[in-house]
Amino acid sequence: MLTAECLYSTTMLKLSAQLNDEEFLGTAEDLAAFVSDKLASLGFGDRHRSTERLVRFYAYEGLLSKPERAPDDRRKANFGPLQVRQLLLARLLAERGWDLDRIRTLLHENRIIAQLNKLIDELATPTEAEKLFFRTRGSEEVSLLLSEPDAGSFKPSRHASPIYSSRDFSPSAMPSPRPSRKTSYSTVQQLRQIADSEESPAEALRMMIKKEMARDDLSPAARNLFEQLLAFNPTSRGDEPKTERWTKLRLAHWCEAHFNIDSRITPTKEELQGIVDNFSKALMNKYL
């Protein structure tokens, strides 16, 4: 029989108390799976899931503390309960429209497990004010990182991304915060989309700019730049560039004619004959 105490503990158990992650120690992939499963079991939807790529992205962006090195294999990273909480909070807040800078600042100011537990419980559900003033969209970078990589998609090089460097798995405090910027990964993805676009690259760029301009948080300088770019962008496919094809005709050993016929035009036999007749007549009139 359920007692009042049982009911209380069932209904009032805080989110942080339901993590049961004291024993957790694993790789980026393990961390992603653990937090995804945990959020799913707590009733959060599929949008809140994580992937190994996302974990590495967050680590690169300074949202997750650097993992400990495994004692048996120094090349192997061990994420623990601290990163579980960091990742869980980051996923919850990113899906509620928090940008990465804001999440990073929050996590940097709350570096120990007790503080993170308090934050998780306090921020478990969005307040009315938060729903009004934060756009509930997942971040673009996260959306890209949650999708399965297809052939030829961006693979961060060892030089571009320090997380792939074996030197980085050193037990230390949080990495120093990265300067505020959009990641190069998302920019490369966007440029790749433009380059691979079946429409004209100009049109794809225009669509990308128009999408960016819909952002509320765009700075005036960026908006001005985008407006200038749009002003120079063609609104239609425009004319196809002309392919000039000069044709040389030797009419006689003393006479050579060069013709450039617009490649878009296909003259009929009669039209060509008319041109020849007119040319002959002109020659005769001129020289005879």
Binding site: R102, T105, P126, T127, E128, A129, F133, F134, S219, P220
Partner: protein, 462 residues
């Protein structure tokens, strides 16, 4: 006088007509004063602790704030932080055309560290006022709780020139935040600050609008604001009135309109104080004397619960013209009703001043001074405004804006007394800061202390 007698620790609604009778289908309106009165603090409580505060100090650091304005803003911000409790939290946002979170929301445990951060803010750049305000809201939004008071205090000259500039759209966003539990107060700084934007934001944000030139001027304003918060019995009080059959009603100074129901936000009701509203009734031939109008109040308790009080019915006996002409008038009720009506007239004079029609404005002030039954406070205020109009029309317009808002909305004593009597400065000084009647809104009314004095230099205690 009709009084709804409440249980212990409940507010009471008092309906106080100017005259205890009405003339059916009269050309002139009938005026009724409605008071929403808080009980005295419980005798067994030594202190009724206020709800903890989550405060966003949003400071305009644009280049137009250079010099005295930003010095006043920073010093005021430091004084506010020093007056907060350990369980309060504060966030500091500085804005020009770039928004900087100087300090994200944090418990006020190290006041001096916060003071250092505030004092490091310098003036530069243009003004994205809405962006700065919005960031203040975003810092508070995820942490709003029913049992905490969330407030943005915007310190600015209101000279917005970047980001969202449309005032009505800004007010709509501010009202949205207030509806979600984050109120906004504003402090206008500098001689040329935009009072339309600043008072509009405070009205929409269900907060308080103040202005001043120095930190000492603002000290009094913050002392008042925090005293209200500290002594809060109910917050976000709103009055609404619905006319009975064949009765047109108007709330003097109303801001909201909702079909047949007129409503007005009254602000915070402290313990042992009252909030008033003046209702104007145009009573038609078919009106029912026992149900001329119904008045309702809604508010939020300290615990964050929404509560409603009422309806209180306005009922008056119908009398004939002779009887009506000899009906006595309660002087204090008349004084309060008159102050609200005078405040509306000052709005018209303010519009004349802004259109540079100074001669007409002065004439209008002179007409106001001839009004019979004018309270001493209203008279002193009008005389001050008339003098200021000659000296500094820009500042006069600001004083008119803030002054009429105060006349309309200021918290009153819980007892109906002394409004018709002459203002006694020493008696005013003894009152709680939010009950004092001031002639000038943009200046400290307390004498400035000598060097090392205790008054004015102390942080406003929250």
């Amino acid at each position: 006088m009709e009084v709804m007698n409440p249980p212990m620790n409940q507010p009471k609604i008092e309906i106080l007509p100017l005259k205890k009778g009405f003339l059916r289908a009269a050309a002139d309106a009938t005026h009724v004063l409605v008071r929403f009165v808080a009980p005295a603090k419980p005798a067994d409580a030594t202190e009724t602790p206020r709800a903890p505060l989550d405060l966003a100090l949003v400071i305009d650091r644009s280049s137009s704030m250079s010099g005295r304005p930003i010095a006043a803003a920073l010093e005021s911000a430091v004084r506010i932080v020093r007056g907060l409790r350990d369980d309060d939290r504060v966030t500091i946002v500085a804005f020009d055309d770039h928004i900087e979170v100087v300090q994200s929301l944090i418990a006020v445990t190290d006041r001096e560290a916060l003071a250092l951060r505030i004092n490091a803010i310098d003036a530069r750049g243009s003004t994205n006022l809405f962006g700065g305000w919005e960031e203040g809201v975003k810092q508070l939004a995820p942490f709003t709780r029913k049992d905490r008071i969330a407030r943005v205090i915007l310190l600015s000259d209101g000279q917005a020139n970047q980001g969202l500039l449309n005032e009505q759209e800004i007010f709509a966003q501010v009202a949205k935040a207030a509806g979600a539990g984050i109120t906004t107060s504003t402090v206008g700084l500098g001689h040329g600050f935009n009072e339309s934007l600043m008072t509009g934001m405070a009205a929409a944000g269900e907060g308080v609008a103040n202005f001043g030139q120095t930190a000492d001027d603002l000290d009094e304003a913050f002392e008042e604001q925090f005293a209200i918060i500290s002594n809060s019995f109910l917050r976000q009080v709103k009055v609404s009135v619905q006319g009975g059959s064949d009765v047109q009603v108007r709330l003097v100074g109303e801001i909201l309109e909702n079909g047949a129901t007129r409503s007005r936000k009254l602000g915070t009701l402290p313990w042992d104080a009252s909030l008033v509203a003046v209702i104007e009734l145009k009573i038609g031939a078919l009106a029912k004397a026992d149900a001329l109008a119904a008045v309702n109040f809604e508010a939020i308790t300290k615990e964050g619960e929404k509560v409603k009080f009422g309806p209180a019915l306005i009922a008056l006996p119908e009398v004939d013209l002779v009887a009506f002409s000899v009906l006595p008038v309660d002087a204090d009720v008349a004084a309060l009703i008159d102050e609200a009506l005078v405040a509306e007239k000052i709005e018209v004079i303010e519009a004349l001043t802004r259109s540079h029609k100074f001669a007409e404005a002065k004439l209008a002030f002179e007409e106001l001074l001839k009004r019979p039954g004018l309270s001493d406070w209203a008279k002193q205020k009008i005389e001050y405004l008339k003098r200021l109009l000659d000296e500094d029309a820009v500042m006069a317009a600001k004083e008119m804006r803030y002054g009429r808002t105060r006349m309309m909305s200021q918290t009153k004593e819980s007892t109906m007394a002394c409004y018709s009597m002459d203002v006694d400065d020493s008696a005013e000084a003894m009152k709680a800061s939010y009950l004092r009647r001031k002639r000038a809104d943009g200046q400290a009314s307390k004498p400035k202390p000598p060097q090392g004095g205790t008054t004015g230099g102390q942080p406003p205690q929250a």
